[in-house]
């Protein structure tokens, strides 16, 4: 089994990011910020996919993203989720070799 492509890894990251966003949206006062934050980072991911989506992913990068996905999967507090809506994309982009 291979680790797939950069695009496949980022697709998995985006799926997890959607779930994190749903948790963050529970903070009603921050709904607009949460949705805007998701949009802007999704755009950044899309840029990477457009440029490098078909590139085979380094196994260590794939493992790093899997760990980051597991980390946000542990979050239950919506406020903590909002913190991670900014942090998670930075971790994922670093893992696949993209400096933000």
């Amino acid at each position: 089994m291979t680790d797939g492509t950069v695009g496949e890894v980022l697709a998995r990251a985006l799926d997890a990011y959607e779930d994190l966003g749903s948790l963050g949206e529970e903070v009603e006062d921050e709904w607009t910020y949460v949705t805007d934050l998701q949009s802007t980072w999704r755009e950044r991911f899309d840029e990477v996919v457009a440029g490098r989506g078909a590139e085979p992913v380094d196994p260590r990068a794939a493992a790093a993203v899997a760990l980051a996905i597991a980390e946000i999967g542990r979050i239950e507090d919506p406020h903590r989720a909002i913190d991670w809506l900014s942090t998670f994309p930075q971790v994922v982009l670093l893992a696949v070799g993209e400096a933000e």
Binding site: E30, T32, Y33, D36, L37, T40, W41, R44, D58, R60, A61, A63, A64, L67, A68, A70, E71, R74, I75, R80, I82, D83, W84, L85, S86, T87, P89, Q90, V91, L94, A95, G97, A99, E100
Partner: protein, 229 residues
């Protein structure tokens, strides 16, 4: 315009204890010389849920892999990880206070690259003739006759709000009324992209306020910060 120590109320006394904690100084020193990736790692760990160091090492393979080539200080990521986990291990409220104090410490250390240390002060209010003083002090100030700077430090973009923007903008305006150039800025230990999203939705003035983010922290040690927008 003149500077004054903040009132020593109960909150200030408790917070001063956190600011004086050796862990704050240790992380401030480590992060002042850290790479951008190391700073992201520190942010993630101090925001994180897991306290398993191996999990974090695996999440940042470029920092902890076997290939040490090109790394000026291969031991630094490990030191940052250890100290960040020590912060993460505190309770939620204490962790939050530590993170704020760490950004302030980091800001002061980076400013010390271009400003004499005696001019860098913490928890100071700025007073103007005929203007009611703000209650909240500025986290870090640079107090020099020829120029002055005031910084509000935030752990994350979410900390940017109308209150802090108005306070910084008002201080800059009042200083200008006295023909004094006061640089005011936010230092946010978060990605610029997230800060811009936050600022975009603010109706409070931000045009004259500098913005320092994870990506531009080191530039603060070379020059005054660029405007937020």
């Amino acid at each position: 315009m003149r500077f004054q120590d903040a009132a020593r109320d109960a909150r200030a006394v408790v917070y001063a204890g956190i600011q004086a904690d050796p862990l704050v100084a240790r992380l401030g020193a480590l992060l002042a010389v850290a790479s951008p990736a190391e700073r992201v790692m520190a942010r993630a760990v101090m925001n994180g849920e897991t306290t398993d160091p191996d999990g974090w090492r695996g999440m940042f393979p470029a920092l902890f892999g076997d290939d040490h080539s090109g790394r000026p200080d291969p031991g630094r990521p490990e030191a940052i990880l250890e100290a960040s986990l020590a912060v993460a291990g505190r309770g939620e409220q204490v962790r939050s206070q530590f993170r704020g104090a760490i950004v302030e410490e980091l800001t002061a250390r980076i400013l010390a690259r271009r400003v004499e240390p005696a001019a860098i002060r913490r928890e100071r209010r700025i007073l103007f003739d005929g203007v009611r003083a703000e209650i909240h002090p500025y986290d870090v100030t640079v107090e020099r006759e020829q120029s002055a700077e005031a910084y509000d430090c935030k752990w994350g973009a979410r900390g940017i709000g109308a209150d802090v923007l108005h306070q910084l903008d008002d201080a800059r305006d009042h200083a200008a009324e006295e023909d004094i150039g006061l640089t005011v800025a936010l230092v946010v230990f978060d990605a610029r992209r997230s800060c811009e999203v936050r600022l975009e939705r603010q109706t409070a003035p931000s045009a004259g306020i500098g913005l320092v983010t994870l990506e531009t922290l080191d530039a603060l040690g070379r020059d005054r910060p660029a405007m937020a927008r």
